[in-house]
Symmetry: C2
Subunit: 421 residues, 2 copies
């Protein structure tokens, strides 16, 4: 599974363009240590391959920072003209994404003095820090603008209403989506910003979300991160290196009605606001009952270690289930959902203060990858929405659904080429 691991071979690749004006100088090279002789904060050569079978950023262990954005196309021509504009955009975007994941500037001229640089420059000289750029298309792309309705996968059905949700249209939807993950937030932001810039005239950014905190797709190899409720989040997630489970639950296979999606995956994004102040006033015992886990160790209430398998049948001395009937881990468990699993990639977010309440605007930006949202996210969220004890403290306020095609196999290809070709 070489595409699942960051390459350690390459040295830091600089912008690739000659340096204008002044000499390049030693100041451009290398990544800073902390000046105290300790380990560097980020390995300078941390790259994740862009080309391959599946897009990076799905099975890949999640770097510490997320910049997510959706974009709307602004085309107004005939379906043929609009498809041509979209094709050109995706050719440009794919080349730029490939370059950025290599730590290079976006292709084009960034050194001519009498022109705007092709790259905005804030990540110049920085390590890509495990940058992955993952691309998807939303249901709205299959309306009448592009003549692509016949190529819409059945699995890309609009998400039904999933109470209790209170979605903000300005934080939901989008024709296209980009998930940029990196250990360096500047590098992640640089990616969504430069794609917006390269698409000017064809797309506008619809919404964006920054996230932080080390999510992990491999609980057994990394310490599981904590969400803003203070609980470990992702203990029972699918391990991205488990090829059999990835094929079973995440990668689109021969079952698809649309060949262009084979090897791809469906991304569901949910902005989940937490009622942090109310949560913080809750008793420790109640918090642990809500999740069904111990707060500090992360162990299920029926176990003593984080990765112990929960015993959903266990009863206490009074005959009550040790893991309550409304506990989040019970309702989310594959054992209690006909075997359903999804691959989660969660990032905490905070966007300041809600002016109406004075409370923190913070929560979880939840991303899930799966073979078919109709059979995975939707029924799972229906079950959680109806019974989850956590609902007292959370609300889904933004949403997105995107079909992520397979990766491009090489520099002569572009994203979703089989959809548009």
């Amino acid at each position: 599974m070489p595409e699942l691991r960051a390459s350690r071979r390459g040295l830091l690749a600089l912008g690739g363009a000659a340096v204008a004006g002044a000499a390049a100088s030693g100041a451009l090279a290398g990544c800073d240590g902390d000046g105290n002789g300790s380990k560097a904060a980020t390995p300078v050569d941390a790259k994740v391959p862009f080309y391959g079978a599946h897009q990076a950023g799905i099975a890949t262990a999640a770097p510490a920072r997320l910049a997510f954005a959706t974009y709307d196309l602004t085309v107004s021509g005939s379906p043929e003209e609009n498809r041509a504009a979209l094709r050109e955009l995706l050719q440009t975007w794919t080349a730029a994404a490939a370059a950025m994941t290599e730590g290079k500037q976006v292709p084009g001229d960034s050194t001519t003095l009498v022109a705007p640089p092709a790259d905005t420059g804030e990540a110049y000289g920085a390590s890509p820090a495990n940058l992955t750029i993952t691309f998807g298309v939303g249901p709205s792309l299959f309306d009448d603008r592009f003549g692509l309705a016949a190529k819409r996968p059945a699995a890309l059905a609009d998400l039904p209403k999933l109470p209790p949700e209170n979605l903000d249209p300005s934080r939901s939807g989008g024709d296209l989506a980009i998930q940029a993950c990196s250990d360096d937030p500047v590098v992640a932001f640089h990616a969504i910003r430069n794609l917006a810039r390269l698409g000017r005239g064809t797309v506008v950014m619809r919404w964006s979300q920054l996230g932080f905190g080390k999510a992990t797709s491999n609980g057994s190899a990394q310490e599981t991160p904590r969400n803003l409720m203070g609980f470990k989040d992702g203990t029972r997630n699918i391990d991205g290196t488990d090829a059999q489970r990835m094929d079973q639950y995440v990668w689109v296979g021969n079952e698809t009605d649309q060949a262009w999606m084979r090897g791809g995956s469906y991304l569901v994004a949910r902005r989940i606001a937490m009622r942090i102040e109310a949560w913080d006033r809750d008793f420790l015992a109640d918090q642990q009952h809500v999740f069904g886990r111990y707060k500090y160790s992360g162990a299920p209430l029926t176990g003593s270690k984080e990765f112990d398998t929960p015993d959903f049948g266990a009863k206490d001395s009074s005959g009550q289930p040790v893991i309550p009937v409304g506990a989040h881990i019970r309702l989310a468990a594959h054992e209690n959902n006909g075997g359903i699993r999804i691959l989660r990639r969660g990032y905490s977010y905070t966007d300041g203060i809600v002016s109406a309440s004075g409370e923190l605007d913070a929560g979880l930006f939840f991303i899930a990858f799966q073979k078919d949202p109709r059979k995975q996210f939707v029924p799972l969220q229906r079950s959680l929405g109806a019974h989850d004890a956590l609902n007292e403290y959370i609300q889904h306020v933004g949403s997105g659904l995107f079909a992520c095609p397979p990766a491009v196999s090489g520099p002569d290809r572009y994203w979703a080429q089989e959809l548009l070709g």
Copy 2:
């Protein structure tokens, strides 16, 4: 200057509290590597001493992430009662800050099942990752609520209007301020959140700002970070390890009219929005003229290496100054401002999209420390505001001014004790 350097001695200190319910287990210990055998993302024992002469987070090299918040007191008693409430708050806050910078939970009971945990828990088991928590008081603290008017330092004069600014009151001011810096954004956010929680009933958070990107107070020892305009930012900053300059420009000395501020410093915060899309359309030559530096190397236009001293007298073959008269480095230079210097700590921010324009809401959260804002930030910003070529692309939209007292010398002391004592 031992207080300027992070201690490498300690091992990761866990929460300090016994673990409730389940066994602690191995999952609680240690910091994750990246699973590929490379260097860990963050040194697990990275701590900056909390006690000392000067508060940490000023001379300290800036960690990669910022969480800044201001708080308003909600007291409504007599000045004596209000002072007592403030004193109690600051005792609680100081103890909590000392614990958090050690990687411990905030003091109090986090393990009793039938009570809310004292600590919110999201940073439990994490390295403090060079966490510093810096405290300041705003001009509004010296109104009639606390009877402290006679203790207001003259240097804490309200900032005058500094055009071109367009300040949002909901992102400006505050009775108290906390600057939390860490290489781990969860740890930084945890600090401002838990102080808000501990102060419930006495303070409410007024505004907050997250920032990212490795600012540096020591250009010679670390690579200078780039701002979102793609230019190196901070090349000529004061070196925090230069004790003579720190005494000359940053630390309040015997000149103060208020003994409680001796050894402290004044913090000016400005949220500086960038017109990123307009900037990105500007020619490389124009961008370089605006800053007076080459974009990629960071060298002044009269030099070839980043740290070359700018030659403000140099003329080109047509007799024009090589560094234009409105160039940012010319106007900000101590050589052209009667020797004025400030200590800067800049963090990039982005808060999504401005809904009115569809443009990115992004820029620089600028923090400056100095001996006397009336003689440093204010005249410097007046000069920049009047002539800086950068003004076409930026606008100051938030502002704060805070007097940061000296550090507490030990666990029996609290922040600003000499002000309240």
